[in-house]
Amino acid sequence: MSEPVIRATDLVKSYGGVRAVDGLSFEVSRGESFGLLGPNGAGKSTTMRMLGGVSRRSGGRLEILGLDPDEQGPRVRAHLGVVPQQDNLDEELPVRENLVVYGRYFGLPHSYLRPKADQLLEFAQLTEKASALVSELSGGMKRRLTIARSLVSDPRILLLDEPTTGLDPQARHALWDRLFRLKEQGVTLVLTTHYMDEAEQLCDRLVVVDHGRIMAEGSPAELIRRWSTREVLELRFGSGRNAAAAERLGGIGSRLEVLPDRVLVYSDDGERDLEEISRRGLRPVTSLVRRSSLEDVFLRLTGRSLVD
């Protein structure tokens, strides 16, 4: 593994007495795609803002390309492309000019920015919207433009804070495709998300964060192996009967979870366990065997109760 481009050690951020980030340590290697996964309020965005050199940390150490963002903010930021959680495009300027003015912030000359803006518009599939005002774009188009804007300085590190939140499935898949291409071109991606499928699609490695702390770390496959089983058997016995049925499932699977509407059996062989269940005379209304996903890991680590 090459020298890490980002190295965070015991990173802390407090607001008042509250520790939004409470001792995070992680490293990101060059060219890696690294995800911060966690529920709302877990401290993901706060971490991203510290990585991006726009928020001072309260404690710990942080190095981006060997530089401390609290001391060398402008130099650190010159290396980064940033996609914020909320779009902050200039709604009063045309699409193309949004790219040019942002590139000017990096001191880039118009002779470079003119062709670069056209190239990025094509990359973001916005060529036809080049002279439209940003206020006329759909949510997905704005998001693609924000990503295109973050690339205008040709950064080798891209920070993406919930890049696809609020988008429809088509727009999400189009964005994933763009991001995957960047990864192929050697760009280091750091992204936050609470979409498990997004993390599975894009991240080589991720950390699950909750209450400002790291709950688990690894590749999506490793996390599933470590924190879940290969398959999950979902059984519905009808409301009110799940708990009673679950009492008769002893010894099946490696773990049981009883929810109000269904029973989850974490299993290495769902079909075999389903046969065993019917041998015991249990007749679920519906049953489903599926592969275990990051979502199972996530819910196990961060709980099922609502955070907001």
Partner: protein, 294 residues
């Protein structure tokens, strides 16, 4: 049939674009150096591009407003005043009111450019947050905003001065042209404290409308704009002395028609305007840094 790898499901046209085919002429280290040296200009450039999209309106208002005021005050009202006051003012009413109108317009531009625009930068459009993620610093955003606003005052005052000349409202053009830089100073003397105030507001609960009604309009009416301060009851004259607009107006009269006043008073006018602008700037820069460097 030959086996072909499946096309990426959502490749689309942009899929073929190789972004590495077009690289910047210099790397991030040089970008950081350039931004450090000229960041405020880069941000001002962005603001001026925005101005361009409503330049027609600015220019139309810039020409229309002085024409209306000069017709109403400098010609309509002047007929009455000059007949009634006789030589009381020492100069024709048109000459008296013209420099006051120009600096008032600059002050109003200062209020406009530093209230809603600043709020939009922090909150409504979050332009400052976008710029803050680049090598630019909070202080450079404040400076860039002020540079762009100053360009607007320059434009407003320049156009206003041109209209005054057309109306024959400036008897001493040799010093009268200094009304244009005075407009820039007046815009900043009023605008920078407003900017500091706006940068501290997290929400507009009608503060800007109140500013307009309780500060801008009273200043416009009671700063010796339409009548000398001495025409007010003594108990109200302090209003003029604390008003940046009165200082700018009197200074404008010295420049436009050679209003006779003690030299120390002229110096005081300049000092008051400069002190307001500098204090406003220091407070505004600190407010920007506090809000953006959290």
């Amino acid at each position: 049939m030959t086996e072909r790898p499946a096309a990426p499901a959502h490749g689309g046209r942009g899929g073929a674009v190789d972004l590495s085919a077009l690289r910047p002429p210099f790397g991030p280290e040089e970008a950081a150096r350039r931004a450090e040296a000229r960041g405020a200009l880069y941000f001002a450039e962005h603001q001026l591009r925005r101005l361009r999209s409503y330049a027609g309106t600015v220019l139309g208002v810039g020409v229309g407003t002085p024409v209306l005021y000069l017709l109403a005050m400098g010609i309509g009202l002047a007929g009455l005043v000059d007949d009634a006051a006789g030589p009381g003012l020492g100069v024709p009413y048109l000459h008296f009111v013209a420099p006051a109108l120009l600096v008032s317009a600059a002050m109003m531009a200062g209020a406009e450019e530093n209230s809603y625009t600043v709020m939009a930068g922090f909150k409504w459009q979050r332009l400052y947050l976008a710029a803050r993620a680049t090598p630019l610093s909070a202080g450079q955003l404040a400076a860039g905003h002020t540079l762009a606003a100053s360009a607007r005052y320059l434009l407003t005052s320049g156009v206003y001065y041109g209209v005054l000349l057309l109306f024959g409202a400036v008897p001493q053009p040799a010093t009268g042209w200094l009304l244009v830089p005075l407009g820039v100073l007046a815009g900043n003397a009023f605008g920078l404290p407003v900017m500091a105030f706006a940068a501290r507001l997290t929400e507009d609960r009608g503060e800007f409308a109140l500013l307009q009604r309780l500060v801008v309009v009273p200043l416009f009416l009671f700063s010796g704009t339409f009548f000398p301060l001495s025409a007010l009851p003594a108990a109200l004259q302090w209003l003029g002395w604390v008003s940046p607009l009165w200082h700018a107006t009197q200074l404008g009269r010295v420049l436009a028609y050679g209003l006779a006043e003690p030299a120390w008073l002229t110096v005081l006018h300049v000092a008051c305007l400069a002190a307001l602008a500098v204090t406003g700037w220091l407070l505004a820069r600190r407010a920007y840094a506090r809000r953006l460097d959290a």
